[in-house]
Amino acid sequence: MMIPAATPNFGPAAEPMGVPLGAYLLLSAALFSIGLFGVLSRRNAIALFLSIELMLNSANLAFLSFGRALGNLNGQVSVFFVIAVAAAEAAVGLAIMVTVFRTKETINVDKLDILRW
């Protein structure tokens, strides 16, 4: 018997986007700057990392919206890679953080400034 056609199909919508590309880009820009602000203003290393993740995601959003607008899949593939790399980055970064905490008893990045003149 035929497999029933999927009712609320999450697949790609054939019709052109109802939301202008610019809107997506603006959102991505906003997220990016928020993340940047976090990176610049937070002292807690973990918060720093979170902000970076946020920035990465804004980039992903931009990728996807461009890909959608141009109607090809390169955007999605790039995002795929970004996510993979982000995972690696988080793993290593957190590992570093744990080791740092073991030695210096803090994750306040302003306290970790022995690498100066």
């Binding site: 997220l31 990016f32 610049l40 973990i46 461009f66 890909g67 890679f81 290593v92 957190l94």
Partner: protein, 170 residues
Amino acid sequence: MELALFIVCAAVAILFALVVVTHPDPVRSVLALVVTFFALAILYVQLAAPLIAALQIIVYAGAILVLFLFVIMLLNAGPEKDTGDRSRLRTIISLLTAAGLGGMIAARAWLNQSTGIEGADNPSSLAAEGSVHAVARVLFDRYLFAFELVSIVLLAALVGALVLTKKEPA
């Protein structure tokens, strides 16, 4: 309909993003980020990228952020205590920088969106086959080498994390 969805998700995303960067308690930041990611995931679906949306949840929300929580608990790193050296000036400067850069990017976006759309080769080509198949085809065909490289990167990260956190055998 689509627009409404977009507006809601965007609002949620931005709101919780702000929470992420401002809330002193890292745990809450993480949770807020989870919410942001969910909102973004919905937008991804809207952008005809269900696979990426799923990955977003599985990998980001499901693995990376859980890892963050894990570390936070491991280090028992409570709310950021006000250690005195927080300068309002610094906050303002970073705010300005961030806003400026964001504004630049936004301006660029507006300037470019027309040209961005022009390059559109038929968007329906995505709809032709289930997007997972389509992505897979591109991923394992054109980007195969990059794919393999990424696998190496992940392996390296794995080993690196192990080595870093391994306690010295006393």
